[in-house]
Amino acid sequence: MLTANIDRAWIGPKTILQDVSFRASAGQITAIVGPNGAGKSSLLKAITDEIDFEGEVRFNGDDAEQVRPWELAAIRGVLPQSTTLAFPFTVIEVVRMGLLSGHSGQQEHLPETALARVGLEGYSRRLYQELSGGEQQRVQLARVLCQVWTPVTQENNPRWLLLDEPVASLDIGHQLMVMRLLKDYTARGGGVVAVMHDLNLSAMFADHMVMVVQGGILSAGAPQDVMTDTVLSQAYGCSLRVNQAPVDNSSFLLPHVAAL
């Protein structure tokens, strides 16, 4: 279980989040959704202690502030929205850094396996700086995967993947590939929290959705409970109509049927 009770979070003089009580369970994909500038990324950044906040964040019951950095790194991997590197590292060198920081140990084959899982076989010796944005994001995902490779610790506690827009810069094929990979991670006992831009992908893959609007949680629950006409229309400030996909009965949204 991951819990975050944030009374207030701020960047400079500006309050970004207020009275947010966030919960994510292991074995589930929790999608954080919401309009631009609502505080989705800030919520994730408060959970990962990147911005100032009052409140507390607990991973598997332990107060994150009391846990030492390297111990925290062994139970949760964090993927930022984008990562620029100062020096010309190759892809495999980037992914290997994940190996050093987590508890995955010196398993030589792991980085290659992780790269294959994000669809980047044969990219090992390419220079990271010369890749496209979507490829860079998948390299970073492979690095984070290496860090928390097994979804459950030896003490049977879940490990966590905290991802800021993991699929936003990817094409549809790779979006599905990455979402299935995350689904598999949760199926094996790990927890995934992802800031998501795409409502339809979230509805398809998430087990739990959290709608953040204006620095607070407007609605949280199963995707069909959050993906409703009322919630979405209120959140995005335009009249939206939700449909059900015939294949898996998940909710989906077509921009075509939005009324102004």
Binding site: A86, F87, S124, R126, Q147
Partner: protein
């Protein structure tokens, strides 16, 4: 007809990997580790050559032969080899290694290959500290002067370098992101300020102090004595040891402070250690040899080109290469207008500034400055 079954068959993916294998460098980890041995070997050879040549005709081989057969050395040989050349070579190794490592650590800390102790004012700050110690040292209480002894100047240089680095980092880093433009410009301002204050102090200095001060302007290994070696070598060895332990932390910092923290790196501790190391290494180098520029930028850059940016092998390799290059520059400075000497700072600047411009031009399109 050739047997079709025997022909190797490749899938499209195989071919892709093969093309990649040809086009891409091989795993740089092995190359970087092998480089330790190559560079260490080169340093030994260069040190011996450096001992052997000089303005006086004294022959190292002749002296060694005498030592082997147990014949006493002439006084000339003893002075030239033992009192002049050997401390100079050891000091050259110390100064070259610490400048190169300072550069590499500073670049890792600022996440930018253009950071260099000479360029961003750290050397100027250390120089100011040293000048303060020489000119104002007389005002210190006697017991303190007695306690510090020869360490007064290096300690003052260290404090000056540390203050400048701290200030520079505070100015150019906001919320974990370092602005390169701010860093370079603030470095220029801090260097100018340090130079101005140094100028005031030089104005105040008496004749004897002026003589002590002159060599800072030149930047030279010519003043090498055993005493200076004894003062600088421990600092340099300590700083190098600490720096090499920083490798993993600096690798993490290359991803940005937040991501480094998520990787489990104690970011604040790494930053503080890096700043102290840069200050100590630059301070020790500046205290004994004055401001020698460009070693800190050229050496790490060449090394990264050759073996990649992984700081763990990189820091060892830059120390070795920095020491070798400074010894070579020193040899050039000794023989080029022999028997007079060209200040070594001129040689390193002539060799270094084109490299700096080259890095700048290559990165112009890639990175916003």
């Amino acid at each position: 007809m050739p047997c079709l079954i025997c022909l190797p068959r490749y899938t499209a993916a195989d071919r892709m990997t093969q093309v990649a294998d040809i086009a891409m460098p091989r795993d740089r980890r092995t190359t970087a580790r092998l480089a330790h041995f190559w560079l260490a070997g080169a340093l030994v050879v260069i040190s011996i050559i450096s001992l052997a040549i000089g303005a006086s005709g004294t022959s190292l081989w002749g002296a060694l032969q005498k030592l082997v057969i147990g014949e006493p050395l002439t006084q000339m040989e003893r002075i030239v080899l033992w009192d002049i050349r050997l401390p100079r070579v050891i000091m050259g190794i110390c100064v070259g290694a610490s400048l190169a490592v300072s550069g590499a650590v500073l670049q890792g800390l600022f996440r930018n290959p253009l950071a260099d102790p000479g360029l961003v004012g750290v050397s100027a700050g250390a120089g100011l500290g040293a000048i303060c110690a020489i000119v104002l040292g007389g005002f210190l209480p006697l017991w303190l002067r007695g306690a510090l002894g020869f360490w007064l100047v290096p300690i003052a240089a260290f404090i000056g370098g540390w203050g400048t680095t701290m200030l520079l980092y505070r100015i150019s880093t906001r919320r974990g992101r370092t602005s390169v433009a701010t860093m370079l410009l603030a470095g220029i301002a801090l260097a100018a300020l340090a130079a101005a204050v140094s100028g005031i102090l030089i104005y105040m200095a008496d004749d004897a102090q002026l003589r002590d001060l002159t060599f800072w302007g030149l930047g030279s290994l010519a003043g090498a004595t055993w005493q200076k070696v004894l003062v600088s070598a421990p600092v340099v060895i300590l700083a190098l040891g600490v720096a090499i332990g920083l490798g993993r932390g600096l690798n993490g910092l290359a991803f940005g402070e937040a991501t480094a923290a998520h990787m489990g790196i104690p970011v604040q501790r790494v930053k503080n250690t890096a700043i102290l190391t840069v200050a100590a290494a630059t301070g020790a180098a500046v205290a004994v040899s004055g401001g020698i520029g460009f070693i800190g930028i050229v050496v790490p850059h060449l090394m990264r080109l050759a073996t990649g940016p992984d700081h763990r092998p990189l820091l060892i390799n830059v120390a070795l290469l920095g020491a070798s290059l400074l010894l070579i520059a020193d040899m050039i400075s000794r023989v080029i207008i022999s028997p007079a000497e060209l200040p070594i700072g001129i040689i390193t600047a002539v060799l270094g500034s084109p490299v700096f411009l080259w890095i700048l031009l290559r990165r112009r399109g890639l990175v916003d400055l």
